[in-house]
Symmetry: C2
Subunit: 874 residues, 2 copies
């Protein structure tokens, strides 16, 4: 046979020839699964048909006839038979699935006579005539090209207002007669001969490959246009042949939890569409379901036992949890479809770990099956799939997880509500470091502006807090304490729910599913990941609590401790403001001395949490003006608090004003111009470290200088750190081993990495700033054009979210290679947002970095991604 | 002789052995110049002395004695002779000059007896005893280590209030006696024997090589510490031996204009120090000086003739204009020193051109002798060297040339003063595009903020207008219309003068020298430069007038025509504001249509000025908000003008606000999101071009897309340009050849240049932005830390002023190389500020760019620099 293959013969791997569905049916058949039998007409037949003026290729007609006869023989049914009529489905099936794009004809083989036979066989004449009615319409529409409105107009005339569900068998039969006349009026007689029906149906399926919508689908999905579709001709089976029949869907494991055992539902004496239509309430298969009612295992123990056997066979063959559609026709179990079952992230992890224990797959396979991005969801609350929700706006999914609370606009209100045990969602145009305290106690954050690495997004991710940013659908009015979202007005105190995993903003309190923190399987999987991975995973954490959480999630060190957040502690904030306003070195140092014990305490907490592991501390990075009040309304208050005239504060603010703060006086530039700031921080680090070492706590501080672009900058700061550290160590008598390194976050630093590396024990690539400088993008501003860029297809994903291997990657590669030429023992890592982005992790593995560092909640993601990288999957 | 060489023997090239001064004296002697005779003790003798416990090496004493005897023989004078005493100077002279760092003893050989002989010989006993007095003090201080205060205390006692100038010869002799006693009291007798004096003096000079200040000087100037100094022992000659004696200084050519002929002044019967002291008014040498008085050529025709002979000999030997010190002792001319004469930039050009014509040097040598940076000054007014000035503040030298005018703070006032024929200096914190009209009519610009590439600096350089920026010494108070500079208050309407070549701000109207635009020699030199250079030089020009000036200065095309300045024309400004405020595409296009004819007209003017040469036009680059009023005070007015509510304007402003506009929605990003803006510009370009071509004017438009960072951006814009251009060309029937290219100004563009080049006919490296992104610097903000960086030695020069070969250079190199891999015919150039910076030009030559483009006034600089690059000098 050249054009046709029966399910018994077809090669289950040859999707190109048999299409995805056809190959699957062949494979299931050859596995011995009870698939309704049938045959496949190959994709080659289709392409031949389409390229030769819609003529059947030579031999096709004969082969189809041979296959039909074989089918009749195997089933004991015959086309047109008045007793046991053969009914088949005719379905398209291309190599690459195009769901819903091509045509299908069901119940082919029906005519007045065979419909009568079906009525007798099912004892359900209404069902039989209804099937015939549907067949006439489907065949008329799909095969004969009669517009469906012609049929519905006649239906309306006949029914005269009666709903189709209330029509009885006789009326249904009458309706069929009238529909046959529609076909006749259209200039064709309805083909009663099933063989003729089949020939027409095959033509129609072939043709549907070139329908407008199918072509459009291929174009938008980058599917080649000349592959053709296969045609599957398969025996129809019926679950509505009486009480020994039924239909159902099931998973071979629980898709929500991953627990072993069949999980699903069924309906006795019903067709598959009845389950989908939801007219009748399905019954449980067994005790695994929470649903009440007659269980299949009790109602039909035989077919249920067959199902259990199939479960084992399917999982053994496919090596994964399956989603099955089945029909029981007169006590015979038929499998209509099996495919990889969709599952929650939590179930996915449980399943692969179990499959390894069951010996079905190995650890590498288990690791490879879990998308690292999924893991983030395992640790966060999510919106319940069944929840009713009113989505009023949509922004960028900045930090996953769902949160629900009362709307507030001022960070201070978060605290006030919090004090009354009221959860809040902080809604702002954008956030700034002043808002951090408020964000800490809010449930979630929603901003109208900003992108994936805006301040709000970065901080929220660091806190593991749900966050939606760049939500241009809302208009925030601070003065009136409300925001508009379309026609809705949301006022301070109103409840909203946000989903940081989808970017949705919903009114009211939407039902959520709590995070699954029972992580037995997760811990097992991530343990395997660590064994497989070469890249180590650290976390970005600024407090002892964050560090402890990060360690719990498997971080083997802190890759980035931002010290500026410490300055936003109320006492520290006052002191740093005094420092900034100080006119001379002495009063500046006096102010810094007040900050010293606060910082020392916070460093000590982090060191304790990370005992025995390295902690990379970045010295002050933001420009000093970030510590001064930005809003005119706060200036008077702050000035009074500091005991200065508001004008003096305004003057300093104006002096510190920068046109482009991103490119301004910050990072090491502050260290060079105001070395006492860095010296005080280093002193705090080493006093904390020496004190803990004395108490027997092993600490490994790594001091990191940000924004270096010149060799001389790092050279000087290294000298300053060593001098300060050694002085403290001398005071204490002994101290920790320590390292001094730098962020590589300016393109220039990467370009001259060989020179910079002479003064660095480690490089940490700050890919946020490196990306911003390399692209000339500002995370706070790119929203202005990025939406247009996405819509126009100029740029698919933000380089701040997904690492830009093509461009920024060159600089990272260059930085590592050049750095190692002058310093072969250089340790290298990444501490930007991309440390938790699988695309980035894959690249960082390939260029030979030692570690990545990311938000605590992304540590599991990064650990698995690192394993994927080792496995060559990224 | 091993340790000593006479001037007659020494090798004039061997500076290492004889020191710079000694070698020079030997060379002059061997040339037959009348140098007072003498000998050199080698640097090796010094190092031997210093490394062997300050003992003279074996044979040195004998060699010195032999040399002294030879000297006595040659001069007919003898040490200690009562009639013809030999007097010598003993001077240090290391291989590398360390001016003022080591010791010198003059008039060595004087004692009571020889002083008497000097008195008789000069007929000037006061001079003789004064010389002796100085000798005792100098010898006592330098050689014997007696602190000079001991001598001055005795002087005060003796003089009792009489000024030393009023002391007569007898009193002077008495003073000498008392000073001899000081030496005696110090425990030493003053050595009367000149040979003993000489031995001591040589020791002292040797030792002074290791003095603290000499060591420090070597350390700070990177001079090795073990080279030693030579000691020059040279006959003293006296220009005060009567009316047949005299002294003077002269140049072999006019140092202000370069004109041929001796140029200098002299004093009869005087010592060199009399000329320096300015007590007597010098007389002219000849008619070349404007000075009145007895000319040397008439007073002493013999020595004058000798001087003329020397002039020829010196220039023939040294191949350059010389600066000579001479003394005439009793009719004999002695040459005390000759060195390359300092000269103005204008003179320097004239001289090298003349020297080529005279056959003294060749063209390459002529080109190599002129520092390209000098040429900028030839074309600008400068402060007169003799001018009296009160410098009250100092900023960055942003655009050279001096300017004088009345202080104004508002751009509008520039116009008002201008209308009354009053020149102005515009003083601002910083400038913005709104200020351009004011800058156009101001004489110069002074800003308190900003760096070398701040808006003010860039625009002023483009206009060839003097400008001082980043002048943190001044505090500007707009409200009270004044600025403070130290204790001075400068109010609106007060006169000030600024020097954009030095950064000085001066009170009042300071005398200036007008620019020399007679450029015969300049034209000749630049013609040679063009023959030598490979790099072509274009100019950055935004108007027809600028383009014409650029062409006059030798630009062979426009490398950057910024189109945004056109939008600041009043009519265009209103239309662009309407465009920005428009809600829909139609009203946006209507506003753009109003701008179309204005732009077309301006493009036509530039094309006409550059007939036959290429003109690169950059499509709109700045973010749109730059066209809206930034000051609250202007908002109401502008809103009224546009017929919108001020709130609507404020809302749009707030919507367009950017945290980092440098990294914001500008350049091609505007082109992608609002393609009608670019399309209108392209239409204007091609309508102007087609119209001119029709009239027989040959134009070569090159359309340049700014800020490209993605291949897709250029691909789309190229399509837009072609589509629009071809439509216009079709309307006109025919049109010009044109090119489409891009700026490479984002690091990413350089990194993916191979991809970008697929859609580009040319690359123009925008080194301003490229430097800012690569370094993470903002030209408007870097002033905040750059001064500290310079003071601390972290960074010597701003990378925005002097091209950063080490860092940014790598990106340019990569960009060119990668671009050519996919597009071998790619044309490459630079249009940033560095196109006129010789360091940059040298690099751009080496990496193989085709052209550089710079401000019109820098075109001569760049042309010469391009030649220097070809000659391997850069």
């Amino acid at each position: 046979m050249r054009w046709v293959q029966s399910f018994l013969e077809g090669d289950g791997k040859n999707k190109a020839l048999l299409g995805g569905k056809g190959a699957g049916l062949c494979e299931m058949t050859r596995l011995g699964l009870p698939v309704p039998t049938g045959f496949v007409i190959t994709t080659e037949a289709c392409t031949n048909f389409l390229t030769s003026g819609e003529a059947w290729p030579e031999g096709l007609a004969e082969e189809v006839e041979t296959a039909v006869q074989a089918l009749e023989q195997r089933t004991g049914k015959r086309f047109g038979d008045h007793d046991k009529p053969l009914l088949v489905s005719v379905r398209s099936g291309a190599a690459v699935s195009m769901p819903g794009m091509m045509d299908t004809v069901l119940n082919l083989g029906l005519n007045r006579e065979t419909a009568g036979a079906l009525a007798r066989a099912t004892g359900n004449p209404r069902f039989a005539w209804d099937s015939y009615r549907r067949f006439i319409q489907m065949f008329g529409d799909v095969v004969l090209g009669i517009h469906y409105t012609r049929f519905s107009r006649i239906e309306e005339q006949v029914l005269q207002g009666t709903h189709i569900d209330e029509v009885d068998a006789d009326q249904m039969q009458e309706l069929c007669t009238r529909l046959e006349e529609v076909v006749l009026e259209h200039g064709q007689s309805f083909p009663h001969d099933p063989r003729e029906q089949l020939r027409f149906a095959i033509d129609a399926v072939f043709r549907s490959y070139n329908s407008h919508r199918a072509r459009y689908y291929r174009k938008t999905h980058d599917i080649p246009d000349d592959a053709g579709t296969a045609v599957n001709v398969q025996l129809m089976v019926f679950g509505n042949m009486g009480d020994d029949s039924g239909t159902g869907v099931c998973f071979t494991r629980n898709p929500k939890t991953g627990a072993r055992g069949l999980f699903g539902e069924w309906l006795p004496n019903a067709q598959g569409e009845d389950v989908v239509a939801g007219v009748r309430t399905p019954l449980p298969l067994n005790d695994n379901s929470e649903r009440d009612g007659l269980q299949l295992q009790h109602a039909m123990s035989g077919p249920y036992a067959d199902l259990l056997e199939m479960q084992a066979k399917l999982e053994a063959h496919y090596g994964d949890m399956q989603d099955i559609e089945f029909t029981i026709e007169r006590g015979h179990l038929y499998l209509l479809q099996t495919r990889k079952g969709k599952r929650t992230a939590q179930a996915a992890v449980q399943i692969v770990v179990d499959l390894v224990e069951e010996g079905v797959i190995d650890r590498s396979e288990a690791l490879s099956r879990i998308d690292p991005r999924q893991l983030e969801y395992v640790l966060r609350p999510v919106i319940s799939p069944d929840a009713k929700k009113k989505v009023v706006a949509r922004g960028l999914d900045a930090s996953p997880g769902a949160a629900c609370g009362r709307v507030v606009f001022e960070p201070q209100d978060c605290q006030d509500f919090h004090d009354n045990n009221e959860p809040t969602i902080l809604v702002r145009l954008e956030t700034s470091p002043e808002d951090i305290q408020g964000m800490t106690v809010a449930q979630g954050v929603l901003t109208a502006r900003g992108g994936q690495t805006s301040h709000a997004a970065v901080v929220a991710r660091g806190m593991g807090k749900p966050c939606v940013v760049g939500c241009t659908d809302i208009q925030v009015d601070y003065a009136r304490e409300l925001f508009y979202a379309g026609d809705d007005v949301v006022r301070k105190g109103d409840w909203i729910t946000i989903d940081g995993g989808t970017g949705e903003v919903m009114l009211g309190q939407v039902e959520m599913i709590a995070p699954q923190t029972d992580s037995g399987a997760m811990a097992t999987l991530l343990g395997w990941a660590d064994d497989e991975a070469r890249l180590r995973v650290r976390a970005n954490a600024d407090t002892g609590a964050d560090a402890a959480r990060a360690r719990q999630l498997g971080a083997v060190g802190i890759g980035l401790c931002r010290t500026e957040h410490m300055f936003f502690q109320p006492e520290a904030l006052k002191a740093i403001r005094q420092m900034i306003l100080a006119d001379d070195t002495r009063s500046r140092q006096r102010a810094l001395n007040e900050i010293l014990p606060i910082q020392r305490q916070m460093f000590a907490e982090i060191f304790k949490a990370m005992e025995g592991l390295p902690v990379t501390i970045r010295l002050l990075d933001p420009p000093l003006h970030e510590f001064l009040p930005q809003r005119e309304s706060d200036i008077t208050e702050v000035a009074q608090d500091l005991g200065v005239r508001p004008d003096a504060l305004r003057a300093r603010l104006s002096q510190l004003h920068e046109a482009n703060p991103m490119l301004g006086h910050r990072g090491v530039r502050v260290g060079i111009t105001t070395p006492e700031v860095y010296a005080t921080q280093v002193r705090a680090i080493f006093e904390a470290a020496c004190d803990l070492e004395r108490k027997g706590v092993k600490v490994y501080p790594e001091v990191m200088i940000p924004l270096v672009g010149l060799e001389a900058e790092l050279e000087r700061m290294r000298a300053l750190v060593i001098e300060t550290a050694e002085r403290v160590i001398q005071q204490y008598g002994s101290g920790p081993d320590y390292k001094i390194g730098t962020m590589i976050e300016l393109p220039r630093a990467a370009l001259i990495a060989d020179k910079v590396a002479r003064h660095a024990d480690f490089f940490s690539f700050g890919t946020n700033d490196l990306t911003q400088m390399t692209w000339g993008y500002s995370r706070d501003d790119m929203g202005k054009f990025f939406a247009d860029y996405q819509r126009e297809g100029v740029l698919r994903e933000s380089p701040l979210a997904v690492f830009d291997i093509e461009g920024v990657g060159q600089l990272v590669h260059m930085g590592v290679d050049k750095g190692r030429t002058t310093n072969p023992r250089l340790k290298t890592g990444v501490c930007g947002e991309h440390g938790g982005d699988p695309v980035g992790v894959g690249f960082f593995h390939r260029v030979g970095l030692d570690y990545v560092s990311c938000s605590p909640y992304r540590v599991p993601v990064a650990r698995l991604a690192a394993a994927h990288a080792s496995l060559g999957l990224l």
